[in-house]
Amino acid sequence: MHFLEKIGITLLIIAFTFFTLSLGLGSYQLTEDSLKISNEYHKKEVLSVAEETGLLNQEYDSRPAFITDFKNVLKASTKNLEAKAADGLPEGVNEWDFKMGDWTYKDYTMYTVKHSTTGMVANNPFLFLLLTFILGAIGVIIHSIPKFMGIAGIKNNHIYQSAMTRGLTLSVRSIMLTATIFGVLVYGIFYLKGNFMWSLITLVVMALITYLVFVKENEKEPDHNPPKSASPDALGWLGLVTGIYLIGFYILLYWSPAYITNWMLITDPVSKMLSGNEASQWFVYGFLYTIVMLVMGLRMIGKYRHNQYQILRTISVIFFQTVFAFTLPEILVRLNYPYYDFKNIWPLNYTFFFDWNLNQLIDSGGLGIFMLVWGIVLVIIGVPLITYFFGKRWYCSWVCGCGGLAETLGDPYRQLSDKSLRAWKFERYIIHGVLVFAVVMTALVLYSYFTGSSNVLFLNSDTVRSWYGFLIGSAFAGVVGTGFYPLMGNRTWCRFGCPLAAYLGLVQRFKSRFRITTNGGQCISCGNCSTYCEMGIDVRAYAQKGQNIVRSSCVGCGVCAAVCPRGVLRLENGSADISSRTTELKTIHITEDQIKLLS
């Protein structure tokens, strides 16, 4: 290891330690000021219950204890308000403004905990900003410097020898995946307040897909694991630790943000500078996301500094993340416009057609209407048209934030995608299933929007949409999508889950000028291309036959072409042969006429 790499790693580990430990620093005391509830009736009630139970002004050292007690106060307050409402509402007050539903708990708790915190982190946000985000970023940058030194070229040395990037054995991977799926489904029952129907339906659908993949496969495999599955012989324990850390991060972020309020305190100064508002968990996430993409993007550029295509598209994703996904929405909020990410397209942006979003856009004057029209035009015209010209890569590896993170933070893990035929079958069922789910969910939501009725047939559009948000929007895109980088590769979400990728992919497969061409007979079947294809495409299977690669999942990252030691692959747009892109071309070299003459 280069000494700069050692320094970089050390700094990164220090930053991570501070980042993680900062969550536990401080003590907690509920005061009238720190109780962050905007609703007057709720606040009054909570305050009086808190006083009764002795929570008010009591100092806690333990965050979980504080959160538990505070939640109990919220529950008691809800009951009290319920009883009071039954006795009669105050003059001119809406029942729903008066009563306190449990959907309010998450925000009430999070902001209250945040403001009730005292101690090191709360008093020194700048110091901690320096010790965590900034120190970590510097660490990664220093670590990446050697990538800019020496002779440029493909340097994938030791990837399968490193405990960080070699992946996990099939058994560990299966355990992780099963545990995550069951964890999500069980938690989902709580999430829907005891409604277990949706967890059950999801389980049945997954069982069905598994059945279809396994039973219908005629690939009765012999003695051992399929060789192209992404399981190495040895356990990549560092990868495992990283994966667990990431999964934990997403669980806290989505479902227990009250535990990460110290990170919000740390980023408060930045948030106030940008939007004028205090930081929420989403600001923390966006800020972290952007920094990670910046520094890991730099690493990517160093790694591929001989490759213009990689450099340009990395700069592009960094640009779209920093400007369109991170800064612009904050500024819009500062200017009292709706929070809007111009490049986030439905159905990836699944909340676009939700009533609150539509209402907000419609109520925001000219710009709001523009945003609404822009979003719809992108879906209906933008996606098919641009994809026709350039393939789905224009979005997936040049613009998208999820793709951007995968290509920067996820680059060290791209080889872990599973290339087996079986994985491809899973992929097609699951990703198209998610697309159908997204379309149905949105249709139901729009139906409710226009008719005002939540119930369509036997379905409740509110439940469907919150299940989508929970299962796909949070669990799949976040917990599995990023948490599984070290386990199943960096494009797990893009490959198996993203409904927009499915849509783009259909266009790419059936009507696009894009394809990867192969260089005649030059392929030596070495397998570099397949190994480093993050979408798990067995590129070699096409290349060794001299066939074009036209696959709906190809995100056009260009890495297959970059790592090919024989210069066999080229990403290409062209309309001349658009209808015959996939024809099984040339067998290797005997001319057709010769065979015909002789037979």
Partner: protein
């Protein structure tokens, strides 16, 4: 009909695949090396940690079952062509065949050096060679000596280099691979080898490998009398057909198994393809033994046609090859020789960084295009091949040269600079006529 194939390398596998495409014959593929076909061209990437062994296998295990290609692990010791039977070294019962394909590949050359059979001395050809390298590396290697400046030698040197093992590279010639590469390209590789920090010793030959007393290598002695301490010696002075087991059979061999243009041996129903075959009457301009991946694949495909009632002559077409010297990719199309014939003329362009070059060769009098030699730049096979096949005029080629460029998008294109050199040499004023684009290429290729 039962077709037995000895060897599960690219030649045997390609033959099997195409026979299956065209027929329902029973196919048995035999190999002693590995259970499944893998790409030996990728052996280096396993050692360097780019790939796992599984990743070098182009087909998943179910593929063989699904295509009804029976795999048999065993070493064929004897071929009884009279009874059409194979006999194995292992305790396997003999195997009857109707037609036999010999595709047993190559083995590393050993030229009788003292100590060549010591431990930690070996070539790089088989999976077992790789295992030996791994085992030696686990013991610790203070220095590795690579003997022979060919394509495998440089790969082996790179492999050790990634494990931070110092490499000394003994090359008999006065410049790397200069019996194949033209002088400038050869020197480019010399420079590149040295800038990677290898100890490149030109005009140096191995004389002796010294035993450390326990049967392992301790040092080598060169023809210049120098003794270099080392714990590994890589023998990469070429390969030769792996046909020792045929000695007592009726099959006629010279250096390789002798075959005619239909890949038939002297014994009927016995064929040979790939590295192990030697052509009695090679196609004009080609060598009798061409131990490379692509020819093995073409022979396999050709033979499959012959066996499936479409008798086809082996015609490898326009010569092409490719390799990678550390970070420099190399591609060649057509007739590019180390010593250019008198009646040929070359256009040679080299990039300022000294790691890219384009060489285009044509015939002086007729101006017919003869060959392309590329370092660090990719050219499109089909385009170059079409020009070469159609004996295109060099000026036409140059004006359309952008069609051949196969570098990734946004890469700088150097065709104009190549053209400028020609203009300067000939006092012409040619301009690039076409831009690089798939549509143009497609139109050109289908014209």
């Amino acid at each position: 009909m039962h077709i037995a194939i000895i060897g599960n390398g690219i030649s045997g596998v390609t033959a099997a695949r195409f026979i299956r495409k065209m027929s329902d014959h029973r196919i048995t593929m035999i190999s002693a090396e590995t259970d499944y076909f893998f790409s030996r061209t990728a052996l280096m990437y396993i050692y360097m940690g780019h790939m796992r062994f599984e990743d070098t296998q182009p087909y998943e295990p179910w593929f063989w079952k699904k295509n009804r290609i029976d795999l048999l692990k065993g070493y064929v010791e004897k071929i009884d062509t009279d009874n059409k039977e194979l006999h194995f070294r292992e305790n396997l019962s003999s195997l009857k065949y109707d037609k036999l394909i010999i595709a047993t590949g190559s083995k590393s050359n050993k030229f009788g050096w003292p100590g060549q059979d010591l431990k930690n001395v070996g070539g790089l050809y088989s999976y077992q060679d790789l295992e030996a390298m791994e085992a030696a590396s686990a013991d610790g290697i203070n220095r590795a000596i690579i003997v022979g400046g060919g394509l495998i030698g440089i790969e082996m040197a790179e492999m050790f280099h990634t494990r931070h093992i110092p490499v000394t590279f003994l090359v008999r010639e006065n410049s790397y691979w200069n019996n194949i590469l033209p002088a400038e390209e050869s020197q480019m590789v010399n420079r590149h080898i040295r800038e990677h920090g290898f100890d490149l010793k030109l005009e140096t030959e191995l004389k002796e490998i010294v035993d450390d007393g326990t049967g392992k290598v301790k040092a080598v002695v060169t023809n210049k009398g120098e003794t270099i301490e080392c714990k590994y010696v890589g023998l990469t002075a070429g390969v030769s057909p792996n046909i020792d087991f045929l000695k007592d059979s009726n099959i006629e061999t010279k250096r390789g198994v002798l075959v005619n243009e239909y890949l038939e041996t002297n014994v009927s129903d016995v064929y040979a393809i790939g590295d192990c075959s030697e052509h009695r009457n090679p196609v004009e301009g080609r060598r009798p033994i061409e131990a490379i991946w692509y020819t093995g694949r073409m022979m396999g495909e050709t033979l499959a046609h012959t066996i499936c009632q479409q008798k086809t002559k082996y015609d490898p077409g326009v010569w092409f090859n490719s390799a990678k010297f550390l970070d420099i990719e190399y591609q060649v199309y057509g007739d590019v020789q180390a010593k250019m014939p008198e009646n040929y003329q070359a256009i040679y362009w080299e990039h300022r960084d000294g790691r890219k070059s384009i060489r285009i060769i044509y015939e002086k009098d007729t101006k017919v295009i003869k060959g392309f030699n590329l370092m660090g730049v990719r050219y499109r096979h089909e385009v170059c091949e079409k020009w070469l096949k159609e004996k295109t005029n060099i000026e036409t080629v140059l004006k359309d040269l952008s069609l051949a460029n196969f570098d990734p998008e946004f890469y700088k294109e150097y065709e104009a600079e190549v053209l400028a050199i020609y203009n300067q040499q000939n006092g012409t004023n040619l301009q690039l006529k076409k831009k690089r684009s798939w549509n143009q290429v497609f139109t050109f290729l289908s014209s």
